[in-house]
Symmetry: C2
Subunit: 236 residues, 2 copies
DNA sequence: CCAAAAGTGTTTTAGCTACACCCATGA
DNA sequence: TCATGGGTGTAGCTAAAACACTTTTGG
């Protein structure tokens, strides 16, 4: 058992989160950079001894983003014996001038449970943790090199999101409360990485009977104003 | 860190496996019964300090069934803080006359990674572990009461199997090497718990181009003999 | 030749795609 | 009135479902 800031954590278990956001037509995720190391990693954390796994992730993300009721989905648990490269973690601890024996447990083997989250990036204020000096949005196609197996964690999260997009459709969390059909389609396209047909997409969405139509959105441009939509109360 | 039979295991992490078999038209899973306790549980185990998570599960199942190359799929990780009821585990240790302090770690909180397996029950010779006196096939609809949250682990495994049945189709592992179309359909029906249309099912399977047709199977009954099929070498 | 079960051809249906047409909007 | 983009109608395609017909088997 290991202690950090007075809390007892379970040894050898961690979570890593792939936090998806959507801005300017781009799919992004949260990436943290550690002080003076040039090392980048997914936001993660440990599980307190008395805490549900799901709660630990929810609380950790709430601390980082300030958001409550984040949409979270567990997608895979990563347990390769060699997934923890101790030299990377050593570098991080040393850059933070942490040499004490009480933190050596962080250098040991960890099995990590992967979660992905969908959040509206406009509502977020980012808070890096004690070891990190930044917590920033990165375009999913322009990620920096990540430590350990975090690149494959991202890949698996994205694949899971693609597989589930038509089944659970929690995508309202990535958009504002109201959005145009074009914005929704753009989000689908950037997640699936393929162009969709405009008419077909609109019909499919409307036939699902999960969208509510609101007033039109006047852009000032010389063209027809699109309706705004939102998800219905009991959409799933 | 905790030791059992000279092997060092990671604290607080376990796996539980839902091993599916198919016999007499019924879907079954492996359930273990602990000595003199009346307590039933899924076959599970711990992860050695140097061992991949996937390998640990594979090795554990191989020891129990004698089978190599078992089809395994990780489906969820269970991490509720209250999922370990210590009184159940105490009962199991006491029934095995284990009171030593060195086994007390088994009473602590565990996060468990769930895997499901598909095996051909005809090829299996079952070996219960040291704490158990039996390892038996139970009809999925007639399970005994299981300890802890194992019932919900089974439910989630079954749901995952249903969701994946059309995508990965590793079902040959549940049947013999050769099988009739009716046997394959029966397996689908018992997994999905719904009747399927005979003609449609056959066409769908054949159109996938993953089955190979062999000689006919003469049953002695007064009707047309069905062909035997097997899965092609590179079926996926 | 009959009953039963297997294999396959045909029709119907549903969903998706692509194309096109009309509508709304502000320059 | 024109260019631009949004909403919807329609025809065509494909895959799946339902139905039915034919074939094979042993009594």
């Amino acid at each position: 058992m290991s202690t950090l800031n007075g809390v007892e954590y379970i040894d050898h278990i961690a979570y890593d989160s792939v936090v998806f956001g959507y801005a300017a037509g781009r799919l992004k995720i949260l990436v943290m950079e550690y002080h003076n190391t040039g090392l980048f990693a997914l936001p993660g954390g440990f599980i307190a001894m008395h805490e549900d796994l799901d709660e630990a992730v929810k609380n950790g993300l709430e601390a980082r983003t300030g958001l409550k009721d984040i949409y979270l989905e567990q997608f895979h648990t990563f347990g390769k014996a060699d997934r923890n490269k101790t030299d990377e973690m050593k570098k991080i601890l040393e850059a933070n001038e942490i040499h004490q024996k009480e933190f050596q447990w962080m250098l040991s083997r960890f099995i990590s449970v992967g979660y992905y989250a969908l959040i509206n990036h406009e509502l977020v204020t980012l808070h890096p943790d004690a070891l990190s000096d930044s917590c920033t949005w990165y375009d999913i196609n322009k990620l920096p090199k990540l430590i350990q197996d975090h690149a494959s964690i991202v890949a698996k999260a994205l694949q899971t999101l693609r597989d589930q997009i038509d089944r659970k459709l929690p995508l309202f969390a990535l958009l504002g409360e109201k959005f145009t059909m074009q914005e929704l389609q753009g989000l689908y396209e950037v997640i699936l990485d393929e162009k969709l047909h405009r008419g077909t997409f609109q019909r499919k969405m409307l036939s699902m009977d999960i969208l509510e139509r609101h007033e039109k959105k006047y852009s000032g441009a010389a063209n027809k104003a699109p309706y705004l939509y939102s998800f219905k109360k009991n959409w799933n």
